[in-house]
Symmetry: C2
Subunit: 235 residues, 2 copies
């Protein structure tokens, strides 16, 4: 950053820098959010996003991954920066800005014990409790971003198990967009992209007949991007 002459006469003070994580999961056809019961004062016992101060010796993204690891036991998950919240009075105690980062996790992989130890709970996205500070705003913004990104980037797959069925994928997109999609059109479109690899296995958990499992094919996705780029699922 550059500072101009006038800045030199201003006080340059440091401030606290935190990061809060918006952790999305998808389970039983519902989009869910991982929320914690705060263990420290002030506002002990209130619901809150998991977060931490950023250490002097770690990148912002490292701090986000550390929080995620500490609270879910998960490594190597999709994570992206959302926005930085920096209203001067957002934290009543002291001046503290927070970089919100959102994560998409495969809910079947997370460490349930670890999560419970931390007093955590998965809430359905449209039945969230009141969260501390500006955390509800963060979740709202993250959901908007998720909707936006899911449309043009294949991030939806980060929320599903490695192997998934087309109906599962559709339910995920319906949960993200918060509206129904036509099953014939959805299937047509998603298959036309050529980024799904059909497996020989079936998943019978959803029906008696069973639905074929598919895998996301990153190589074909890269090809798609090169060949003019138009990944777009539903809308």
């Amino acid at each position: 950053m550059t500072y101009t002459n006038t800045d030199l006469y201003k006080v340059k003070e440091k401030m606290y820098v935190a990061t809060d994580c918006i952790i999305f999961g998808f389970d039983s056809g519902k989009l869910k959010l991982l929320v914690f019961k705060r263990k420290v004062s002030p506002l002990e016992g209130e619901w809150s996003l998991p977060g931490s101060f950023v250490q002097l010796d770690e990148d912002l993204s490292e701090a986000g991954r550390r929080v995620l690891k500490e609270t879910t036991g998960l490594d190597n998950v999709f994570m992206d920066q959302l926005k930085t919240y920096g209203k001067k009075d957002r934290d009543p105690g002291y001046r503290c800005i927070s970089i919100a980062q959102y994560a998409l996790i495969r809910i079947d992989e997370y460490d349930e014990k670890l999560v419970e130890e931390h007093g955590a709970h998965w809430f359905e996205i449209d039945h969230l409790p009141i969260l501390i500070f500006d955390h509800n705003e963060m979740v709202h913004d993250a959901l908007m971003q998720l909707k936006q990104n899911a449309r043009y980037k294949p991030i939806g797959f980060e929320l599903l198990p490695e192997k998934f069925t087309i109906p599962q994928l559709q339910k995920l997109y319906e949960a993200i967009y918060q509206r129904q999609l036509d099953d014939r059109n959805f299937r047509k479109k998603v298959l036309s992209l050529n980024v799904l690899e059909k497996l020989d296995e079936k998943d019978k958990s959803g029906s008696k007949r069973g639905a074929f499992l598919h895998k996301f094919n990153y190589k074909n996705y890269q090809k798609l991007l090169k060949s003019g780029y138009n990944f777009e699922i539903a809308g």
Copy 2:
């Protein structure tokens, strides 16, 4: 933010928080960026984005607007947060994170003297010099964001004078998307949105015949949003 038990044993240290502004303008058919010659050590004399430390008693957005005001004299311009840059070693001197914010300004309105006093220069977006630290990365990211946003939100108009012609608007979009657009299709699409108000005046600076001036109509835009929302210019 929440901190977990383990955090309580970690050092909670404050850090410097800065903001850097990516200021876009549009002039002579080219998308431009306002860049400054750094006046303080280290890296004095190098090109840099305008920036400042964030004061303890101001919101992040206030800090951005302050920088903008100090460097261009402009108030009340479109400004939005881009991303926060927080690699631990991004500033060689001390740990400092920077919230990048981008602004779209009507280049005809800015205070040229003020800008020159600060050793500033407008560079064409594809002929930028090397900037300090991670500033080139910031610009790259801001340009991506601008491309993305211009497609679905009417932010392009922030870069034009209040009154503008259709060919001017088209050149702007061509500069943002960095590709040619078909003039007949562009005109058809943009007029079909019903958000432009045709004036009786002509602008003759671009041609002998002159082109009709138009104004962006915010009320109609609000109507468009309510009635199902599909603002989309070109692609």
